[in-house]
């Protein structure tokens, strides 16, 4: 029986340990691998342009050269669209035809052609105009083609030598050329697709540089896609038309996504060439290159984290953590020392101990509410400070939050210092205060450091109290402790509940969270190393 119990115990323990590792693996590894892409990624020429323009980083000449080449290719691609547009813009063609007809009449008059000749010519022209305008309205390929042939047949029969009439025929010829290749019934769909493609192209390439239109307001719209993975996503949207269609195998089931290559839809037209070229030349246009964006940790973000880094967040987190440590360490140690060295065991001290233990389990949002009510709304006006969230209130709230942890671990540490040290010190004539400062405290330091580590980790990642007492979603980097700040934890929260821009840059979200985790781990590692060194020094090995 005991052997079975023993086995069960061992198996349970192993199971729990393995589960922990698996959960960590499942949870943390993908997070880290995604978060790392905020710093290490395939940066495009747009990224290098952005760094040059915004921060003056990088080799100006090289970037300019790359940009010129890229711009050339982009303009060629854009030209294809506008060519296709021109050929298919039926309203514009109709407009032009009417203008030509009017101008042609004037021309005839100016040339002094009168009488019957004038009438025949202009009624012929009117016929063509009307026929042309009619066929432009039609979506029937056969009808349009036959009508166009009729119009083009008159090209040589008549005395239409004027430049204007020749242009009219050229338009007809162009239109015929286009209509031969596409299904007019789909024309309205193509128009919509074209608008969509142009929109995506603006996102992909950045705005088209035109002298008359002002630069876009948001920084994110001023540049194209800075990362190759984002380029690929946008390319996919251009190259394929995604449609929800009924599942053929299971018509009653959920709809399935179908991706149709757009080059097939536009097959035969000039646009087909556009898609092929875009697919083949994307790498030449964007020149993706492995980039390590160290400045992610110092740069401020723009356009809701679309570009830039988490500098102010890191700064805010550190300031807030350090400030709360400044409050919590002395108070925690003094309280613990009092509890161990001075306080007698009576009801009063046991009430204090009980309160400390209960406070350690109070949810952080409660501390946040208290901090907001007490520090921000009540205390700040007493000192003629606007009752707004600020670093001071936040760090005081966080200090309160971790005080119980700090007191308890310090208490344990101080209590575990051997009595013999104290005796030795007292035996040499030191008073209690000096004994505490010179002997007990140094000997308790490793244990106290453990408390500091626990508090640090908790404070650095705390969200709810900071949201209520110290944080803003967007804002300047704080100048003083009376300004609010952004922190990694709160900004992660704001990003998670935030707008669709955040959803477009998931790597930034992961990057922020991973930065936070890494920071806490680094802090812990530093404290653990420090503790080990102190321990080693105390032990003298």
């Amino acid at each position: 029986m005991r052997i079975i119990l023993d086995k069960i115990f061992t198996i349970t323990a192993w199971f729990c340990a393995i589960m922990m590792i698996v959960i960590l693996g499942i949870y943390l590894l993908p997070m880290f691998s995604k978060g790392v892409t905020a710093v290490v990624f395939q940066g495009t020429v747009e990224f290098r342009e952005l760094q040059l323009v915004k921060h003056g980083r990088g080799d100006e000449k090289a970037v300019q050269q790359e940009l010129e080449k890229s711009e050339k290719l982009r303009n060629e691609l854009r030209a294809i669209i506008s060519e296709f547009r021109k050929g298919m813009n039926r309203e514009a063609i109709g407009e032009r035809i009417r203008d030509i007809y009017k101008d042609y009449k004037d021309e005839l008059k100016n040339k002094g052609i009168e009488g019957d000749q004038y009438r025949t010519l202009y009624s012929k022209a009117k016929e063509i105009r009307n026929a042309f305008c009619d066929l432009l309205e039609s979506n029937d390929n056969n009808f349009v083609l036959s009508e166009l042939d009729k119009i083009l047949a008159q090209r040589n029969n008549l005395n239409f030598e004027s430049k204007l009439t020749q242009e009219m025929f050229r338009l007809a010829e162009n239109y015929k050329h286009n209509v031969e290749k596409i299904d007019l019934a789909r024309q309205s769909e193509n128009e919509t697709a074209l608008v969509e493609i142009e929109g995506i192209l603006n996102v992909l390439f950045g705005p088209e540089l035109k002298s008359d239109s002002p630069a876009p307001l948001l920084a994110k719209d001023q540049f194209g896609m800075t990362r190759w993975d984002m380029v690929e996503r946008q390319l996919n949207l251009i190259l394929y038309e995604h449609k929800w269609v009924t599942n053929e195998e299971n018509p009653d089931g959920p709809l399935v996504m179908e991706s149709i290559p757009r080059k097939d839809i536009f097959a035969g037209t000039v646009m087909a060439d556009f898609f092929v070229r875009l697919e083949n030349e994307a790498e030449d246009i964007f020149k993706p290159r492995l980039t390590i964006y160290w400045n992610y940790f110092t740069d401020d973000n723009e356009s809701s984290y679309f570009i830039g880094g988490v500098g102010p967040e890191i700064y805010g987190t550190i300031i807030l953590t350090v400030m709360s440590m400044v409050f919590v360490i002395p108070f925690g140690i003094i309280t613990a020392a009092w509890l161990v060295e001075c306080a007698r065991e009576n009801i009063f001290t046991s009430i204090i101990r009980m309160s400390i233990n209960s406070l350690a389990g109070v949810p952080s949002i409660v501390f946040g509410m208290f901090g907001m009510a007490f520090f921000v709304l009540w205390a700040q006006p007493q000192f003629e400070i606007d009752p707004e969230a600020c670093i001071l209130a936040g760090s005081l709230t966080l200090a309160l939050l971790t005080l119980p942890v700090m007191i308890r671990s310090s208490e344990e540490a101080i209590r575990s210092v051997p009595q013999t040290y104290k005796e030795a010190s007292l035996g040499l004539g030191a008073g209690r205060t000096r004994t505490f400062i010179l002997v007990t405290l140094p000997a308790a330091l490793p244990g106290i450091l453990t408390g500091i580590i626990l508090s640090l980790s908790r404070v650095a990642g705390e969200t709810a109290p900071v949201l209520l007492t110290a944080a803003v979603a967007v804002g300047e980097v704080p100048d003083s402790i009376l300004d609010p700040t952004r922190t990694l934890a709160t900004s992660s929260y704001y990003m998670a509940i935030g707008d669709r821009i955040a959803a477009m840059v998931p790597h930034k979200q992961f990057g922020m969270v991973v930065t936070l985790i890494t920071m806490v781990l680094l802090l812990n590692a530093a404290a653990i190393i420090l503790r080990a060194r102190i321990f080693k020094k105390l032990k003298g090995h």
Binding site: T420, E423, A424, L426, G427, R434, A443
Partner: protein, 253 residues
């Protein structure tokens, strides 16, 4: 028994709550020389020793009666300067208890409390104390080493050096060898032999051989009472009291 009295207890009692740890002890301690206190466990010998520099004050719910006169002054008087008292009556504990600091800092601890800051002066005190406790040759090359890295016997000699650094007149030793091996013990005993020419040493010990070897006077305590106090030779060869004789001959205790 003869010599100049440096310390004398006068009907001194020490109570743990209501229970007497030592009961109406009256004895004189003579200057320069070793006084050993022997007796079975729980007889109050350590309590008495620890009362002499008032280190027992740390224990809550204790009280004293009677007096201990040191250089004509009752140390249980309210006006006693505890720091001065403890610097003049140094103490070495049962287990070596060096601070988790360097050897140098351990020994300089006492003088620094007195306000000695001068580095060269401290250096001198440290060297002198270490030489007196016969540790200098072993540690002079690495005074910066942690005291905890020393062996048990070395640590105990370091503790003696630390006590000597405050230039005391009396040295209280509470079973200083009980945690040490025989070789370390003999070194400490040699050291006591040397130190007794310049210090008054009071040593509590469980080992009667040790008491016989190192002490000049021996006091036998039993159940909180002082049973017999005399020259060591007399106690061990010709005890006056039956209890003492039984204890020494190993019939009880």
């Amino acid at each position: 028994m003869q010599g100049n009295t440096i310390l004398s207890a006068n009907k001194f009692s020490f109570y743990y709550g209501a229970k007497a740890g030592v009961n109406e002890i009256t004895m004189d301690i003579y200057q320069k020389g070793v006084t050993a206190i022997i007796g079975p466990s729980g007889c109050g010998k350590s309590t008495f020793l620890r009362s002499i520099n008032r280190i027992n004050d740390l224990i809550p719910n204790t009280s004293t009666e009677g007096e201990i006169i040191y250089k004509g002054h009752n140390i249980y008087d309210k006006t006693t300067n505890l720091i001065e008292l403890r610097q003049q009556i140094g103490m070495v504990f049962q287990r070596p208890n060096p601070f988790p600091k360097s050897i140098f800092d351990n020994i300089a601890y006492g003088p620094r409390l007195k306000g000695v800051k001068n580095r060269s002066e401290l250096q001198m005190i440290v060297e002198e104390s270490l030489k007196k406790s016969a540790l200098w040759d072993e540690v002079k090359d690495n005074l910066k080493k942690s005291a905890l890295a020393l062996s048990g016997g070395q640590q105990q000699r370091l503790c003696i050096a630390r006590a000597l650094a405050t230039k005391p007149e009396v040295l209280l030793m509470d079973e200083p060898c009980s945690a040490l091996d025989p070789i370390a013990t003999s070194k400490i005993e040699d050291l006591i032999e040397e130190l007794k020419t310049s210090y008054t040493i009071i040593i509590v010990t469980h080992s009667m051989q040790q008491a016989a070897r190192v002490s000049d006077h021996t006091a036998f305590f039993c159940l909180g009472n002082l049973i017999e106090y005399n020259n060591t030779d007399l106690i061990f060869t010709n005890p006056e009291n039956k209890q003492t004789e039984d204890y020494i001959t190993g019939r009880f205790g």
